[in-house]
Symmetry: C2
Subunit: 337 residues, 2 copies
């Protein structure tokens, strides 16, 4: 079994806890939020987790920590017992992933695979600067391993294989959230991608401010030309320049039903010189949890396989084939190699 | 540069020669057909190749060999100079790939990556029996790395990541061939997947017999419930049972225009218990060369990367993320590790 810790226990973190129970070969052993963590070597249970407001209240496994120190205290206590970490931490400054990862790498005994579901290009650029450090500290970090970037980026990277030149990749998503309060952090982050909002403004907004903005728009947020890391991730694979990749979408913060189908359109040139398009259409009944946490599980499973082969440092979702089942996979301990 | 040899110089082999010139980081150095081979360490040229009926007629690089010994004679002479081999050899008995690979592994100095574009499930089953042998002989073999299995299988394997259970994967292709004589071997293999034809019957058919069968059908071949290795390949990743995967299609042997669009439909169950479908639609203007040889290049590039990490033995296309550009990648020679 791949032993997993989830950092963050909002909608995304809890979604991952649920997903891990359904996919073979994973065991959730740790989870952290702002106030504490829960750790149990024989596994944490999704239902029990849903019954507590904060994870330190998890019966027998919960530990209340110094405020905002839960992640480090969890990993300092149990880092060496983990195979993989999922970062379920949206809407933070672009330096956050780099800073926390560097801290994990140097101040804990965690040696293994880290997977994130970040969105912003700049956050990936920051992570690239610590590539060598990660390799030195025996960490394999797979970035952009959620839905977009992640699931849809990887589809685009495979789809592009028919072409000798990629002209344009367009990701257009529809998201429906029945109750935005469950996904506060994610909806907040969406505001960063709307015209007229800056990170500082969004950070200063109260929940009531967010609610008021949603009222103005009847709950619909049209996101255009988003700074999504799909661009840098696909550029790094040599597919095309980042300017040829566009990401946008329509979010309905008041209905679970998606306002439009999510699509990826890959336009390219064939060996005979013809321009054509492949298209991938995502099933409307899938939710953010399905399309973020499912693929992230897949990247974790193949991440651990590649870790066992000796791969270290920073990789992107477009370089790794996600694996459906993790059965039979676990991190090889150095001594047993 | 990844130094590549192509085994086979029919439509598929020549298609690959053309594709390699367009994708960065590859160099075609060898090619073999039934009568001989061509080898040039500084690269073979697609145009020159197209100007000769048999590859041993390639100016300065051509070598006429003992009949049917071209593959082995090419690899015995130059095996150690190659990074990767593409098997462009369709419509052969199901034991063929296993036999020739075993022979390459034991009787030549080739150490590197082999990629095939085979179709049949049984051929993969045969290859699985030599997994250990391949590993011992320092070979990484990626099977089913063409269009189906290959391109579309990999799309399905990524798409399935949203689901907690896969119900059904259906690959339905449209193929248009303006002049079937260019793809004799491939069209012949298609007959194996039509009701009423056995491998022995197809082998005994003359080109005139094939032509007569095409006449009866106005050039259209409807292929149903095909034995395509997509099934075993996806089963091996833990996605679902092979019976849940179906492959069929419509081939027009007289028109370059595809009679229907090629689609992959992935039906699965979400974490919330909903059943839904993702669909991938292939651009109509892409040809067999685009969708077989393009992805095969991608699998070769990542194959060499994984080879450098130490991966050996038999892997399938659904386990490997194809890579668009091979720039900067070449096989690390053992001494320099």
């Amino acid at each position: 079994m791949i032993k997993v810790a989830i950092l963050g226990a909002g909608g995304l973190g809890r979604g991952m806890a649920q997903m891990l129970e359904h996919r073979k070969g994973f065991q959730l052993v740790g989870i952290a939020d702002t106030e504490g963590y829960a750790y149990c070597d024989t596994g944490l249970n999704f239902k029990t987790l849903q019954s507590v407001a904060h994870v330190h209240l998890y019966p027998e496994a919960g530990v209340k920590t110094t405020p905002k120190q839960a992640i480090m205290q969890l990993l300092q206590a149990h880092g060496s017992q983990l195979d993989a970490i999922f970062m379920a931490l949206p809407n933070l400054p672009v330096t956050f992933y780099k800073d926390i990862t560097q801290q994990i790498a140097t101040e804990t005994n965690f040696k293994g695979v880290i997977v994130d579901a970040l969105k912003r290009t700049q956050a990936v650029e920051m992570l690239l600067t610590i590539n060598k450090k990660l390799a030195q500290e025996d960490i394999l970090y797979i970035t952009g391993a959620g839905a977009t970037p992640g699931f849809l980026t990887t589809i685009a990277a495979v789809a592009a294989q028919s072409f000798v030149e990629v002209k344009h990749i367009n990701i257009h998503f529809g998201v429906g959230v029945s109750n935005w309060e469950q996904y506060r952090a994610t909806i907040r982050e969406d505001f960063l991608h709307m015209p007229g909002f800056t990170p500082a403004m969004v950070e200063a907004m109260t929940d009531a401010d967010i609610e008021a903005e949603l009222d103005k728009r009847n709950g619909l947020l049209e996101l255009v030309d988003m700074e999504h890391a799909d661009d840098i991730i696909l550029e790094l694979t040599g597919l095309c320049h980042r300017d040829q990749i566009t990401v946008g979408g329509l979010v309905d913060a008041r209905n679970a039903k998606k306002p439009v189908a999510t699509t990826v359109t890959i336009e390219g040139v064939t060996v005979a010189g013809q321009t054509t398009k492949h298209q991938f259409i995502v099933g409307n009944e899938t939710t953010m949890v399905d399309n973020v946490c499912g693929p992230a599980c897949g990247f974790m499973a193949s991440g651990v396989q590649l870790y066992n082969l000796g791969l270290r440092g920073l990789k992107t979702s477009a370089e790794v084939m996600p694996r459906f089942s993790a059965e039979g996979i676990h991190k090889q301990v150095a001594q047993s190699l």
